[in-house]
Amino acid sequence: MFGWIIRCILGMATADVNNINPTKSWALFLFWPAMWIILAVVTYLYFTNQEKKMLKAIKGGK
């Protein structure tokens, strides 16, 4: 599964190794930090919400 994903991503930049497209290569690598930061924001919001509920339950004596 993971190999398949990697192959798809690589395919984006290596469709033709004799005619390398720099724009696709930049997109391939700059995608990763953007993905991590978006994931971090979403995860932070989700966990914060979950923790607030847990704290509320403890304070409420449940």
Partner: protein, 525 residues
Amino acid sequence: MAIEHPEALAAWVLYLIAMVIIGYWAAKQMKTTEDYTVAGRKANAFLVALSHGAGAMSGFMFLGLPGYAYTQGLYAFWYEAGDAGGGYVNFTLLGRRLRTLAAYLKAISPIDFLAKRYNDPSSTASKYIPLVGGLIGAIFMWQYLLAQVVAAGKVAQVLMGIPYTYGVLVGGIIVLIYVAAGGLLACMLTDAIQGSIMFLGAVIGLIVGFDLVGGFSGLTNSLMSIDPTIFSPWGTGLQFQGQYGEIIGALLIYMIGYMGLPHIVAFHMSARSVREITKSILINPIWASVFAYACVFIGLFGVILLPSLSDPELTAPTFFYEFVNPWIAGALIAAVYAAIMSTADTLSLNSASTLVNDVYAKYINPSVDDKKRLLYNRIATLSLGGLALLVALIPGLSVFFVVVSAFGTLASAFMFPNLAAVYWKRATPAGVLASMIGGAFTNAFWEILGLRAFTHLHPFFAGIIVSGTLLVIVSLLTKPMPEDKQKLVDISKDYFFELRLDKIVTKSSSSETKIIAKNLSAILS
């Protein structure tokens, strides 16, 4: 002795003085072994997130990585695509649960955590987990530390004209003083400052570099005219073409590997509460993405601006000297040194703590009291660090092979046992022991035995396959752990158990209930 760059020397000296002052202050806060090894579990999110970043990203980031980008082009991004999210993966998958369970078990080191989680009197394998884990941890963290000390000596020699021996001794002794005195708190405070300097250095390098090469399009056009394969994800000259095992290994090693490094996992245990880990999830990836990618870009700028470097690993320092104001360059060289020291301090502390708390206090002298244990931790930090300094004085030691090898071995040995501790009830001590030994052995010997060239599999990738497979198969073939141990997986999700217990004790109305609650609290903790 001729000093080539007095500005750098001045910045370096000021920086070292600041580190000693922090160590002195942190030493005043030390009272127990818990204070020393896990900073009394009082660290906030900023300290946890930046210590994780600075402690994890060693001198490799300013020396090895730009050098790798200088020779391999955009292929170097494979390592950093994973590294940028390494902290995120570590905090999200492991951090919150491990912090909770470690506090519940009152574990004072990552190996102690494994020993307590997999403690089963009916299992012979259980007795050997702290010994085997402690030895693997101490040996490979020491190896990692040695590489940092050698790197520090080289930086001082090449960048400031200070003889290698002085660079090793001065830098090494300062690290040992503040770690032995101030423990993990000193490590974390200095790491946070070092992390800020590293971040600032990388950002300045990025701004200056883009200005010099004519922006993003200027960089692209210049690199394309030099060699179009610089842009290939298969590496310059397409030398890794079709080698998916190499690329997956490069991507994964820093993406998931941090979950196995004892000196990094210790940061989870130091957090004041799970909330601080959750905040770290947000802070760390922003810091890591900018810093890691900036270091690769500096290597790419070097291809255009410094085309005839004799040693590619000096790309970043040379770039700073050539193109940035000398005083700022001096501060940035201190950042290079900071990157090395921030990893060295964490390693010296954790290798010593592992040896004293997980081997000595468990096998040789279990009745040792806390005061003596704190003293032995400090003696071990000084002894192991001193040994690293002496070995580092041997000329001609290679740094980066040692770093990658030690990192991969630690990660292969401990990543799956750590994850299984908080996710998989069916994991058994025998499975964990087999996983630690198999993972460490595979990663350490994969290249030496010629298997990397034969299979085109990255040693780390091979290590985690062996480690994960052994954990599952051996666990399923052996007797499950007792119910109360399996329930620890559920407790790892009870993120605010400390608050809940406090509330039971303080809010109870009747004196009888208070006594029951206190007893319950004592049993649970």
